[in-house]
Subunit: 336 residues, 5 copies
């Protein structure tokens, strides 16, 4: 379904959705064409290719969910792929798709930016784009600033949407690290790995996006006005911050993993200590009672003691004294 | 065996396989010469060198299975080496050869790209090249776009063939990680190492290939038309995506390895815990029954108990109570 | 609250705090406008935007605590964000805010640097800025050197303030490493992780700051005099040293972590050795006394020994000799 | 000892070894001077310095075994240091010297490349150089291509000599990894470290050599003809492949090390399991026989059983049943 | 204390130490001013600043022990900071100071290099500088080559002094690795960490120094003659070699650490094996003698055996046979 917004030179805004409007605008008119695909948009893409003379390779890219942001320069337009993450609990009915083994979801926007037109192509509904569309309809002066400015508005919202997701990862990372240091659990390890998968994916997507924006921010391209380039510099700045946060989080993830592994080692130590303590107490005791359980008729030198209380007291004394001595020695060696 | 396809200026296509056709085409004619080697193609290469005046070093490179993609510029032609992977189960009768200790197989294509000719040299059959050959014979307009476009068609198919192989690695990596987290096995470790070997090899091959394609995508070379350079940019883009996926997979491979090592540690812990539990139960019991197994005539202070039921009950009580007490204490310390 | 310092061409200094002075200075006058925010400075920022024609994006950046130093060039002024750390025990009433999970605090200064004006914006009181303000009021010749020199004075103090903080980290790192090598403790691990968090944060902040200063040190910008650029080079040099120290500390942090992990392993070894020693002594003893505790009527071949002293002496000899033999064997194998 | 080969303009080759020939050639003559040192070549070097006006620093470099390949540009000649490895079993009588703690041996060649002369300086015999010398004497047309081409021939052979050495490392690495996965041994660890030492040394030597060759391959230097630069590009390509193989091998070396460490952990696990199994069987048995070894006159409630077969059977049953029960429980928990 | 060496145009050398000579030389005269500080050189530095018009920031740098080599360009002179290491056992009375937690000591030289003057500033005595001073006094032709050449002589000696220190680290590293592989000790770990601290410090100091020298080696600066730049290239080359050795040593340090950690694990294994062996021998024995120690009146089915030699022999046979069987089984499983 095509949704077209035209701004005529006299500042009048027109909102239409006829297929015929999916074409380059008349002289002096600024036009934004939005194509929201539903999986069967092949014909619509074909129409765009014919009307705007878009390159077959760019149209080909619009057909597939691409997973790599890029900017490609063609003779009279730029082709842009922008991506953004949605939290794991985003309803699947929206335009966000799952990628890879990570539970994050991904929005993807394809755009053709010409001098006087912006064509956006996407599958499903993009909240960021809808919001900009409403603002543009309510405030024509936004479109008056140029179609590049409209693209900035969308790209900016898409990029900003990554901040809460990365913040959530940071928070969970700290939480996991704290938990692991106090009471490590096998599930924490799965959690750490899931966080790492998310960071790997975010870096894979947001790192090339940074390069894309720096190309728009660099003044000189005829499709981007000098005024707009300042705004794209701002988006680039946000992406740099996102990428630095991702790197910092990856560094800290090592902390959580080291904490887990060392916690497991420590636990081994603790169990070993208890086992050794047990053995230290009961192995000597077993010897003592075994000693007096031997079937000698009498112990030489102390035959008359055998039935006496004295030997009995010695035995009981040893049975009480040995554990105490062991315990004290352990304390002395600082093992418990 | 030489296989030659000629496109004369009037759009007529000729397919031949005479040795004499392995020469630069007449003015206005576009020619694709394919030499499929069988290990004894020395004479054919020599003929190419003489007819086309190819550099001896390039001809030398055609003789050996090279393992490094590259682009070399000579005065009037480019020499290109392109590689691609085939899955481990590819039949060895094809042109794919095993490399290194990894079970992936490798295709290799050598090509000379001139203004009006394309010479491709390879050992064994390359599926990607055969497909393009059939398409060109069926559709002469493809060759009409230039010999550089024909080379793009082959290179593009070679590069795309790597995606399913990398996807298979990604899938297996996730599978191994899941398996290791639930029930680690010594064979998983071998599997992880095999996957790492594959990734190391893929990076070694696909990373220089990226540089090769960016040189073709950069406009300006007289052998590559501006129109074709857009297509090579697309191949370059695929290679960038492949390389990013390789990096991401290498990151995730660390997960699987850490999971395995931590699983081994955890298992040690679990066994240790059981051993300690066993000792905690039976060492005290051994002491108790040993104590009452001593050969004292009578225990002082309680001689009349010796034969009594009371002492007997105390003993049985201790034998039952000690394990229970130990068990409760272990629960309290959260060891089981 | 605006605080304005003017230097008229005749060298007279004027200190005022009227809102009306928050405007570009008259010809020949150098002006420093300082806006100390309190969370409700929206109107003041709006006034700056109108009077100085600052870009909305820069004004937007002034509103939020940004966490990324940068330099942005606008047509007739530079927009600068500088950050600096304060030690963990800085009172929260100052302008320092906590960031992330680390217990360091952060100062942030926004500045607009024009040809004849400097506008500084910050939340809460910045000690570095207050000191420079007092020095400028006491010594007008400092402002005479240009507003860029005043900015240098502030930036220099902000940067220098990081040295004692990094030195404290270095000291603590060495202390932890020493302690871990002699007597490792679970709390040392938390300490190591806290130090790593600090280093990660410091690198995230100070690494882009380095790039900012190198841009000011590079001669050529009309807002920075050649004389001042030498001073900014000095600040840049300090930042390079800070970053190198951070890297060196990160390297050494690995030492502390390795020391901790190896200490845990060593402790396991020591406990194991003790347990083995215990078992080596008492398991044979248990066998010996068990042997003589059997209910055979008489031991064949030595029936007449059963009640004799000889067998008794053998038994006692074994009970004494076995531990000694075990001990000697352990020494021989260098286990204790 | 100087060995001089002259090619006069009329294509006649002259081989001499007079000291007087160690001088710049006459106009139109191409000259290759080879100085094979024996540790006392100080005077010969001095003669070279005087006759050719070589820089004292370059002559100084010729005196010492240098361990760093480089290319230095002087006014009218290039000074080149090239290195190559020889396998560990190379006889020490050759020009190969041991370096560092690794058992590889190193060849080193110093060369001065002028417009019409090539001076090579080395200690001991270099097989690569001898082979080229023989080929040149047998085939004057090689020298006709220029002294730079002669240098290419030597450098090419030196570089190619590294391939079999690196291949041997790769093979041994795979062998070690396989062995470690099946039956790890303490000597494998020493082997892994030795391989790592070799790779570290090879990278240290071959990585700067790559930069040297790229400078010769870049067209423009008056001492290197355009035709020869194509050949140096080929040597550079070999060096790039060598360096990539070194990197790949370093990656795989991590595999072998991880395999070893995990094998040690697994072995600990296996031993622990056996110990636990032993304890699980015999600790209960010890309790059972201890229980019936107590000196109660009669067990209350079952006095008439004491001498009976029934109790006897219960005891024997427990002694047989307990190990079986333990074994089954272990299988259930998948511990054995 | 100032020490001045003048070379007048007629080649006469004058050595003086009047304060008045600490000033720019007369036309045609080359002057080297050396200021050896003692902690109270504030006034002398002030004099330099006034006479030579040095920048206050450079003078400021001379006051503090700086820990970062650099080259700063001022209008008519260069300001250079060079550093070099001294071995740990250098007497503290010299100019070498301890830095950080590492036991290496550091020399630091500040120099101002003008067209016709060299001013060197340092605290304490620098052996490298003293040696050059003596050589210059003995051989005026050295100063005749220019003040930049004198600076080269000093810098060269400072840099060369690092080689034996790094070699000592390499030797010790290999020694530690060998020792750890045969008989690891807790002190080896401290030693490894100390070596790492040294390498981290050396890299921090020598890596920026490399950049400094490459700036002097690059021809074009009016203060460095083309002839001297060749010499600085040689110093740069030494620094590159030092840095590569540092990197290689860092790589090998990982070996030593891995060897230590794996040795600890192996030791755990060995102790465990011994403990298991002990248990395997004595737990069955304890059962056997316990079995025959039970208080049954007679063992059913074999009452007449009770006092017989047969049962006795069975028992003794079990006591001898069980350990042998266990031992054989352990050998079979390759545990001992």
């Amino acid at each position: 379904m095509f949704r077209v917004i035209d701004l005529s030179p006299d500042g009048k805004l027109q909102v239409r959705d006829h297929v015929e409007d999916a074409a380059p605008p008349a002289e002096g008119v600024l036009r934004w064409v939005d194509l929201q695909g539903d999986g069967q948009e092949g014909q619509s893409l074909e129409r765009l290719r014919e009307e705007f003379a878009f390159h077959p390779l760019a149209i080909e890219d619009c057909r597939v969910f691409d997973q790599r942001p890029k900017l490609e320069e063609y003779r009279d337009h730029l082709f842009l792929v922008t991506q953004s993450f949605a939290p794991p609990d985003t309803p699947t009915t929206s335009g966000a798709a799952r990628v890879g083994s990570c539970d994050l979801r991904l929005y993807e926007l394809h755009a053709f930016l010409g001098k006087d037109y912006l064509v956006t192509v996407h599958t499903g509904e993009l909240p960021a784009l809808e919001q900009v569309r409403e603002r543009v309809i309510g405030n024509p002066s936004l479109l008056e600033r140029g179609v590049d400015f409209v693209y900035y508005l969308i790209a900016s919202r898409l990029v900003e949407a990554n901040f809460p997701i990365l913040d959530a990862i940071t928070d969970e990372l700290e939480e996991v690290e704290d938990r692991v240091l106090s009471a490590p659990d096998r599930r924490d390890l799965s959690r750490i790995f899931e966080l790492k998968r998310r960071l790997v994916l975010m870096r894979k997507v947001l790192s090339p996006q940074r390069d894309t924006m720096v190309m728009l921010a660099r003044r000189g391209d005829p499709r981007v006005s000098e005024r707009s380039s300042l705004y794209f510099r701002d988006v680039h700045d946000s992406l740099v911050r996102l990428n630095e946060s991702i790197e910092a989080n990856r560094d800290l993830l090592g902390n959580a993993l080291d904490a887990y592994l060392s916690a497991v080692s420590n636990r081994t130590n603790e169990i070993m200590k208890y086992l050794t303590l047990l053995s230290a107490v009961f192995l000597p005791l077993a010897f003592i009672v075994g000693f007096f359980g031997q079937n000698f008729d009498n112990l030489p030198g102390l035959p008359h003691w055998m039935g006496s209380d004295a030997l009995m007291h010695v035995m009981v004394g040893l049975c009480v004294g040995t554990p105490i001595a062991m315990y004290l020695w352990f304390r002395l060696r600082r093992w418990i």
